[in-house]
């Protein structure tokens, strides 16, 4: 059996929404190099909608796939929905992750939450 599901490998090999948004209005970074995973999420929120999202990740295959999947799940979604995104939903959308890799999906959830907090701080908007 392969280490990862085909979906994980697809998102790992062809990550969606990779890169930086220069005029992002919400940026979140979680993880640390010591543990071997860092995720950075850039959000561009307009009219309560995530108009654009990009990520940068230093990490293993499942960390890259989780970031990619999470960006796909929130792009174009209203902030009210994005707030509800859970790591479990990300892992499920990837057809599951090995137990010891679940923390990668947690990082994806946390990176998005952290970016939303940053947006709130910058704009003073209560989301």
């Amino acid at each position: 059996m392969a280490l990862y599901s085909e979906k994980v490998m697809d998102h790992f090999r062809n990550p969606r929404n990779v890169g930086v948004i220069e005029d992002a209005n919400g940026i979140g970074e979680v993880g640390n190099a010591k543990c071997g995973d860092i995720m950075k999420m850039y959000l561009k929120i307009e009219d309560g909608i995530v108009k654009d999202v990009k990520f940068e990740t230093f990490g293993c295959g499942s960390a890259i796939a989780s970031s990619s999947m999470a960006t796909e799940m929130i792009k174009g979604q209203p902030v009210s929905e994005v707030k509800k995104l859970t790591n479990k939903a990300v892992a499920e959308a990837l057809d599951g992750l090995p137990d010891y890799k679940m923390h990668c999906s947690v990082l994806a959830e946390e990176a998005i939450k952290s970016a939303l907090e940053d947006y709130q701080k910058r704009t003073g908007e209560n989301i």
Binding site: M9, F12, R13, P15, V18, G19, V20, E29, A33, K34, C35, G36, D37, I38, M39, K40, F55, E56, T57, F58, G59, C60, G61, A63, I64, Y100, K101
Partner: protein, 394 residues
Amino acid sequence: MIYADNAATTKMSEAAKNTMFTLLEDAWGNPSSLYAHGQKAKEVLEKARLDVAALIGAQPNEIYFTSGGSEADNQAILSMAEAGKKLGKTHIVSTAFEHHAVLHTLKKLQKQGFEVTLLNVHEDGIVRPEELENALREDTCLVTVMYANNEIGTIQPIKEIGELCRRHKIPFHTDAVQAIGHIPIDVVRDNIDLLSASAHKFHGPKGVGFLYAKKGVKLSNLIEGGAQERGKRAGTENVAGIAAMAEALKEASTHMAENAAYVSRLRDRLIEGLSRIPHSALNGDRIRRLPGNVSFCFEGIEGESLLLLLDDKGIQASSGSACTSGSLDPSHVLLAIGRVHDVAHGSLRLTISEETSEGDVEQIISSVKEVVEYLRSFSPIWRELTAGKKQFIL
């Protein structure tokens, strides 16, 4: 497919395979049986013992066949601990970057009251004999130092360490799993009392290995039962596997000089090519390393992603990153030579063999370069490093 993970396991040689197949047909008897069919298996077994012994400068009655390197390590260490304890000696000297078969056995002994000194292996991955001598005590019952490291390939000054131990009358064990069949080993020249070996690291079968224990060194049993292996290792012998191991070792020893020369040349080309990748570093001493071992750290990327993408390009390698070990910490070997976590996560081990071609090496160099560049292109650490917000380590 380019197989560059020979330190994990090797492909069985044709000769070893043929030996095994033939004997599974012709010598399937129990070597302990007295009828002709059993005695034939016994003959095969003893011939293998003779061959293995001769290839490392030992006597046949100093060779004990085991299930592999880990069993041999366990038996060697636990035997010396038991013998030491009877004399009130409960101190063991080893190194910080031994294989887990050694380190975990030592940990078990620590729980039983043994004291263990793990020597520093320095940035070059080499133990200093003078530091080892300073660590010896009146109550030291064993020194165990690997012949060559499994991750970074550095070769230890085994002969000098052996001499020291002989002088201080302390038993000396070496885990030679990665070295045997690849570099010349002679237990007499090297003053070795106990040595562990595993067949599948030199093109023999898995599940077979041996422990060399110098005459007079008293072994304890890990496995109790019948009187096989002169009463020191019970269980009906894996006759075909043992004979295939002897065949593989014979072959490896016969061609050792030419293989080592060829593989070292490819290794040096690999090191040269990979060193051109910016902010990368070779792990372990450049010269005193196994012919086939190339171990690198690349800053700003993580090892598992690197392995997966190399696999997509048909290259099979390994890494000491945390993600590949299933724990949060990167390899204890890389930490032992002073690589910090950030960098140790981005490690790559390529272990080539005489079956690797020059074209393979060029392919590996260009693929690694491409994958490292790609992973760096969306690594937030790399961005900070290149933006000057963080200091490069490598």
